[in-house]
């Protein structure tokens, strides 16, 4: 019974407070809620300290955060395989029509459009995935945080810098979706 309920997509008013709970649980462990710090830690583990002092710190002090993202991946596995009915997100009809017109989707399936994320060996896909990754990794560290660190942690502590960063997130997102998508996927 309850599993049937959990298997449906969760409404926003359930998910939102639960994300705040994750932040609280980390604060209670004496840690901050911010996922992008892991990218910096991974650089350090890979030896980036040789090229910049930015990466010279004892990564073991950040190993707790690596455990959190390890858990996040396990959580994604559990949710996908055991807590999901496999339905695609019910997004609005106008957005679906736009995606069809751009040739990004034929039929809405799963969580991601297959034309981009089911690899078919094309350079086009590889460029989207790699450039997207570069922008995320560079931008989040330049801004000093991502959706978790700024939009939740920072804003909940009334940090003006986080508000500026979130305005930037939306500026970038709007530019990409409204102006660059028609060029990229034309």
């Amino acid at each position: 019974m309850i599993l049937e309920y959990i298997k449906q997509p969760w409404p926003w008013y359930v998910s939102g407070p639960l994300i705040a709970l994750v932040m609280y649980l980390l604060l209670k462990q004496g840690k901050d809620f911010g996922m992008s710090n892991n990218l910096r830690t991974m650089c350090t583990i890979l030896g980036a300290g040789k090229s910049s002092s930015f990466f010279r710190f004892d990564w073991k002090t950040q190993s707790w955060n690596l455990l959190v993202v390890l858990g996040t991946a396990i959580g994604g596995f559990i949710a996908h395989n055991f807590l999901s009915d496999g339905s695609a997100a019910q997004i609005n009809a106008e957005s679906i029509a736009d995606l069809k017109q751009l040739g990004i989707v034929g039929q809405l399936q799963g969580y991601l459009p297959e034309s981009i994320f089911i690899f078919n060996g094309s350079w086009f896909q590889f460029l989207i995935l790699s450039i997207g990754g570069l922008l995320i990794g560079f931008g989040t560290r330049y801004a000093g945080g991502c959706s978790s660190g700024h939009a939740i942690s920072g804003l909940s502590n009334f940090q003006l810098p986080s508000l500026i960063a979130v305005i930037g997130f939306f500026l970038g997102g709007i530019i990409m979706v409204h102006f660059l998508f028609p060029l990229i996927f034309a």
Partner: protein, 137 residues
């Protein structure tokens, strides 16, 4: 034992990100088109709850599990780095539909191509670290 706690918190986070559809590329797309309330409702209720929790922690001087006071550091004052960095991040977020949390949840759910995004996100952070002293902050 502490390690298990962090993994469990991560598992909870991963399940929430997946089940909330925040990990869905389509949800991020319609969010940046301002055509659906779903993501705004979610971020809004997350933020409202987080504000209340932070206020409780500050007023009741809640301690962490080691008995230390929970401290909140102010972020450095600036505009350039937050606006420029934020915009660059937003471009990547909209293109791949994944920010650094959902990225891991999606890899776990079996979308291995997000591993390419992750590798290049690590490289992007590396490039930032190398160029940091030349960038306006």
């Amino acid at each position: 034992m502490k390690a298990i706690k962090f993994i469990l918190i991560g598992i909870l986070f991963g399940i929430i990100l997946y089940k909330s559809e925040a990990a869905s590329w389509y949800r991020i797309y319609e969010m940046f088109q301002f055509r659906s309330f779903h993501m705004y409702g979610m971020i809004g209720t997350a933020l409202a709850t987080a504000i209340i929790l932070v206020q409780i922690i500050k007023r009741k001087q809640v301690k962490d599990s080691n008995g230390m006071p929970i401290a909140f550091l102010d972020k450095d004052k600036s505009v350039t780095r937050y606006l420029a960095g934020g915009t660059i991040f937003g471009l990547g977020w909209a293109l791949t539909g994944a920010c650094p949390g959902p990225m891991f949840a999606l890899i776990g759910s079996g979308y291995w191509t997000l591993g390419i995004v992750l590798l290049f996100a690590i490289l992007g952070t590396w490039i930032y670290g190398v160029l940091r002293n030349k960038l306006p902050h």
